[in-house]
């Protein structure tokens, strides 16, 4: 009998509703891709196991607490979490990964991983979309300064001329815009690092 394919979004929804088996299906479906992705960054099996585990602990907590938005693909979201954990690891250890010359052949040292490039682009696009959505929560005067500065690349002098307020007021609005953005990101538990 042919097994029917259940979409990730359905499995996620079933899991949130209490079906633990759905999590197992999701892990089995994506384990290789996520594991390879982490390994390609850290080149260490034990560390990869740890980061893989921490990734899914974060996934579980976010799903169970109800903070997951089914806007992007589940796999992209999980990859982003694992990517952030890899970055956290290197930040904690204050070093970047380096290729250790050993007798083992390392495929990642000679092959360009296009899957990861595509993944990174998807992550970047998703982050940009999320930032645009968050900006919409800002008060109009702060939103205006931020868009002029970051999207239209105007100087604060030009912004003050356009908006009819002083440069100091524009700078102040930008400061509050950034503070508010940080607060929204923290409150909504959004991970934006690429």
């Amino acid at each position: 009998m042919k097994k029917s394919f259940i979409a990730d979004s359905v499995l996620v929804s079933n899991y949130i509703s209490g079906d633990e088996k759905s999590l197992e299906v999701l892990i089995k479906r994506h384990k290789q891709r996520i594991y390879s992705f982490i390994y390609s960054k850290v080149y260490d099996r034990d560390l990869t196991e740890d980061i893989f585990q921490d990734t899914f602990i974060k996934v579980i907590r976010t799903l169970k607490i109800g903070n997951y938005n089914e806007e992007g693909k589940f796999i992209s979201w999980v990859m982003r979490i694992s990517h952030n954990l890899v970055i956290d690891h290197f930040r904690k250890n204050s070093r970047m990964p380096k290729f250790e010359n050993s007798h083992d052949f390392d495929i990642f040292s000679v092959l360009k991983n296009t899957d990861i490039d595509i993944e990174n682009k998807m992550i970047k696009d998703q982050i940009l979309n999320e930032v645009k959505k968050i900006i919409e929560f800002l008060p109009d005067d702060q939103k205006e300064v931020l868009i002029y500065r970051y999207y239209n690349d105007l100087s604060f002098k030009e912004i003050s001329e356009k908006t009819g307020v002083s440069i100091n007021t524009s700078l102040g609005r930008m400061r509050y815009a950034l503070i508010n953005l940080r607060n929204i990101i923290k409150k909504k538990n959004i991970v934006l690092t690429n």
Binding site: E24, I27, Y35, R61, K64
Partner: protein, 45 residues
């Protein structure tokens, strides 16, 4: 037997079974408590 210098041990790039079991057990061991304003996770282990 002739030594094959091009032989590479095949490495399976996937997590160990015990890592997956740990994740699945973790998922079963936590409980979410929801108040009107916030949700909390309680680890039952």
């Amino acid at each position: 037997m002739e030594k094959n210098y091009f032989f590479q041990e095949e490495i399976s790039l996937e997590p160990k079974r015990k890592t997956i079991n740990f994740i699945l057990n973790y998922s079963k061991s936590i409980k979410v408590l929801k108040s009107k304003t916030e949700s909390y996770i309680i680890d039952l282990n």
